[in-house]
Symmetry: C2
Subunit: 330 residues, 2 copies
């Protein structure tokens, strides 16, 4: 039930978003009762929602409005990446305290579109409302996919791989919680996470992923989701975790491992691959994307997640040391 | 970033929602990184979001949790109706104060599914989070359509029609605001609005709608949206408005007309029809659906909305009397 002021804000958002090229798959875009999207031949439509709530997922004093918008879109597009889907667009529901003016809507939309533009994705629609409490942003990601990669396809014997490095975003949150400015690499990991949809599609086209999940909650938690969905056990070698470069210099490696394994919002991909498949594609991947690929473990019979050291001996979970609050920045 | 408690709540929602039959178009349902939906041949996918926020759109002391869930889903499915789309399912993002327990999630889901079931639509996915403020529900409606009916197709000469009766939900809000119990008809209009997707598809199949919008903001406001999108002027006869039966007995007809024209959340359809088309289908529609169809005006050159009396003379807008607060129940 938008008021006149809300229509002004919608118009402000649309004027920023109209800089995006229209997509051939968008039959009706923003401004009607609903958006209409036509998938390409042989494609299905992939849909996911991602909530970003002030005081839970972000703080105004830690991020610009543009970064708040960017991260909300990145979290949603990362869910598409985890299915190996191609981004088509997003719908955005914004609930905002009435004292925030049109400029804030424009800045959030600038951040949203900064994340959409490299994907040739567009703003499809959404809703706005006054919020009597915190800012709430719900981003609906809409994608297209020929064959979706789910969480449930991992089999015993598969290898476990992860893209990029882990813990940078959590290290930034840890610094901010302590009143410190994060290092520039960690600040960038936190502010401008890169949803890995291009990487996921490249791997899927080479039949390199049997199951995949994006690391939004943190490796330890998301590995448990993948294990449960596939009905298998994941054994992860703590010594193989690719920790963010800022964490490598920490004197207490148990803390840096805890951050890398327990910290959320890396938006890297964890995936299972049939044995040996990755040896054919790893170098080309790293050359193509300038992004590391690390083999961190394997899939066995059973359930849950087991942590082992380099010798294969059981190890304590690095995330068990009470670092759960890394998944909740406030 | 769900916590263990949030996963419990998601499970509670899914256990309620799993009573719905799976749909042939749902390739992957809840529980993965995203849902995957496959449209039927020749169909496009229709997408809309609808925010329901405590203190703006609803109050806990006016409605059960089940009704809060039902209304959130009905508002979203009504957007599909306005495009003449067939409901496929919804995604639901829920932000809830942490003191609310799993039973509340179950009751909200019962309400959501009560609205979905008659449409053979399913819960496709969503997100949950703690809210440090009010309850927020964002429902994403997903539909399929061969040819969408937008807001922009009305032409001068078209007739203007509306389904059902108007003002019942607003009359209920007015009673509740005054500390009174609404009449049973108005209470039902407020608690259990019927999204008119069956009616819209029936009319679209008979080429009876050139443009359509659902009445969520109220007739006066939504007519202005349709006029703007079509680049036309709508002339509406105040004496032809089908006011809710509870309003017919009001002694001051200007107040009942104000409620019918300015009150939101009726979720009836306002549509334009080419001249004479409706004379062939009106009786069959009313027999098929047991729902009134009223011709309330026509489309002319120009812009905006004009109000006329039965003689065609200009009339004051019945909604101009400061009843805007009917669109905001709190």
């Amino acid at each position: 039930m938008p008021t006149d002021g809300e229509f002004d804000r919608i118009r402000a958002m649309l004027s920023v978003a109209s800089a995006l090229d229209p997509s051939d798959q968008v039959v009706i875009g923003p401004g009607d009762d609903a958006a209409v999207v036509h998938p390409r031949p042989n494609e299905s439509i992939v849909l996911s929602t991602d909530l970003s709530i002030e005081g839970v997922h972000f703080r105004r004093d830690w991020l610009t409005w543009e970064s708040i918008g960017y991260r909300a879109a990145a979290a949603a597009l990362s869910d598409l990446a985890a299915m190996a889907a191609r981004p088509v667009g997003i719908l955005v529901s914004l609930a905002m305290p009435s004292e925030l003016d049109t400029a804030v809507y424009e800045q959030i939309t600038c951040g949203l579109t900064a994340c959409l533009r490299p994907a040739d994705a567009v703003l499809l629609g959404g809703d706005t409302s006054r919020s009597p409490g915190p800012v709430m942003i719900d981003v609906v990601a809409v994608g297209g996919v020929e064959t979706a990669i789910g969480r449930s396809g991992a089999l015993p014997g598969d290898e476990l791989w992860v893209t990029g490095r882990l813990g940078g975003a959590a290290a930034a949150v840890l610094a901010l919680q302590s009143g410190l400015e994060p290092g520039p690499g960690d600040r960038r990991s936190f502010e401008r996470p890169a949803p890995r949809w291009r990487e996921a599609r490249w791997l899927a086209q080479r039949d390199a992923m049997s199951a995949a999940i994006d690391l939004s909650d943190g490796l330890a938690g998301d590995a448990a989701h993948l294990a449960r969905a596939s009905g298998v056990r994941l054994e992860i070698c703590v010594d193989r975790l690719p920790v963010a470069s800022s964490l490598e210099s920490w004197s207490d490696s148990s803390v840096s491992l805890a951050i890398a394994a327990g910290g959320g919002e890396d938006y890297e991909l964890l995936f299972a691959a049939r044995p040996g498949v990755m040896s054919d594609v790893r170098d080309e991947f790293q050359t193509t994307f300038g992004l590391e690929l690390s083999r961190i473990g394997h899939v066995v019979d059973g359930g849950g997640v087991g942590w082992v050291d380099r010798a294969g001996e059981p190890s304590v979970s690095p995330a068990a040391a009470g670092f759960d609050h890394f998944t909740d920045p406030v």
